[in-house]
Amino acid sequence: MTSAARPSIRFRGHSLIALVVVPEEPVPDWLAHLDALAQRSPGFFASRPVILDMSHLPHDKDSLRALVGDLFARGIRVMGLEGTEEAILGPDLPPVLSGGNPTGQLDIPTDRIKGQANGNGTRRPASLLVDKPVRSGQSICFPDGDVTIVGSVSSGAEVIAGGSIHVYGTLRGRAVAGSGGDPKARIYCRKLEAELLMIDGSFRTDDEVQPDLRGRPVQAWLDNGAIAIASLD
């Protein structure tokens, strides 16, 4: 078997939000606008994957190559093309993308960004607020950050968060924190009656919770790979 001798090749799916840039005629004016934007918001295109949507601009291979070159000169690297034909592309141009999901319009920042812009610095911290009870059979899933629930989580309901979970009510259902692999995530609740607590893959069922902690306000965190629970009052 030859395959045993060779290390296997690893594939992984990856999804990300790309910035779709739509050039319009006349191109020199459009590029001037782009320069103005880049000057107002330095770093706007930094570390962002950019897709060029050519559907609003009649073009051929040469003009497309020139435009990609113009963008490259401005520090914008195009990772893929939309609204054009495979046939006119050569190996020196980015590939045509398919299977992407369109998302909403991106707000272009109008204020000059203060200080040094870095890739992550401009992103808002993500959190989800749920201000009603989570009922049996419902599942709140928020892989991007913390979940705060103002109300109770019923038996048979589950809350899954990439970050920490805060329940201002009774936690009766399942709480899964740090779902994307965050051992620093915690679970807080005002009254612990949970069926299951899980942080970064480690879990504790109701049976394994000390009886004197039940019904109390508690926090749970990961201590050397095991879930620790302590009263908050």
């Binding site: 009603k132 009870p133 049996s136 109300g151």
Partner: protein
């Protein structure tokens, strides 16, 4: 403005059909015009509880599929003039219901009645989904025990997401009706406490119906308990609940059985 009310619970055997009959009759006794619809296609019971089983000619499915007119299928109660029944079909199943057909019938009934009461089947499948689909108000029937409470919780979640009102972003009015309540067992800690049920479900309480033989007796003679034994504890609880549905403020009590005099015993036998 007509109100469409769904009586639902998730779990079976908690008293949905009894409640539909009793609340429907109580509202009708108060002068409102009421139609009760049985959505339990294939396992119909509401006709029995209302004593109309021998008068069913056309049913909900016939009307949904356009085989009969609504006026032909509505059965008027013999005791209370303002109460009508739209029976379910016993020989069909729930797949015979279409959302479009149910929506059309409910819109038509809204024109004619003050209250359209939909008796939901147990479960969370097509039958119960369509029973709640067009409702403005829900009465969630719950017994004070854990499995019933959890199922009700699930149903409340569906009422807040799968009804037409919820999808339009409007508020779905929900009321909790605790049935088969036994004060002695609650005292002994054999049942969930009312305050715990309210804490878990967190919707307003419409009433507490005490466990009583009168309920079973009324079902067996085919008459809603509010008509068959209007002075009994469950009947008084249902009559109070009906008043609260109409917006009256009635103090929340759990009626207890009055000691029946000889006269009323004789009277009940005769009924």
């Amino acid at each position: 403005m007509a109100k469409v009310l769904v009586v639902t619970s998730g779990k079976g055997g908690v008293g949905k059909t009894t409640t539909t009959a009793a609340l429907g009759a109580a509202l009708a006794q108060g002068g409102q015009s009421v139609v009760v619809i049985d959505f339990d296609v294939g396992l119909r019971n509401l006709d029995l509880v209302l004593g109309a089983e021998r008068r069913v000619v056309y049913d909900l499915i016939n009307v949904v599929q356009g085989e009969a007119k609504l006026s032909q299928a509505l059965i008027r109660d013999k005791r209370v003039e303002t109460l009508s029944l739209l029976a379910a079909s016993q020989t069909r199943d729930k797949d015979a219901l279409s959302e479009e057909g149910v929506g059309r019938i409910i819109a038509e009934l809204r024109e004619k009645f003050d209250w359209v009461i939909c008796d939901s089947p147990a479960g969370i499948e097509r039958g119960s989904a369509l029973a709640m689909r067009f409702a403005d108000v829900a009465v969630v029937v719950t017994n004070p025990e854990v499995s019933s409470v959890r199922d009700s919780d699930r149903i409340i979640g569906l009422l807040d997401s799968k009804t037409e009102r919820a999808e339009k972003g409007e508020r779905m009015e929900k009321h909790l009706l605790i049935t088969r309540f036994d004060p002695a067992r609650e005292m002994r800690g054999e049942m969930l406490k009312t305050e715990d049920v309210l804490e878990i479900l967190s919707i307003p309480l419409l009433g507490i119906i005490p466990e009583s033989e009168e309920v079973l007796r009324a079902s067996n003679v085919g008459s809603p308990v509010t008509l068959n034994a209007p002075l009994s504890a469950p009947a008084r609880a249902y009559l109070d609940a009906a008043k609260r549905l109409r917006g009256e403020v009635v103090a929340m009590t759990v009626p207890t059985e009055r000691r029946a005099g000889l006269l009323s015993k004789l009277f009940r036998r005769a009924a």
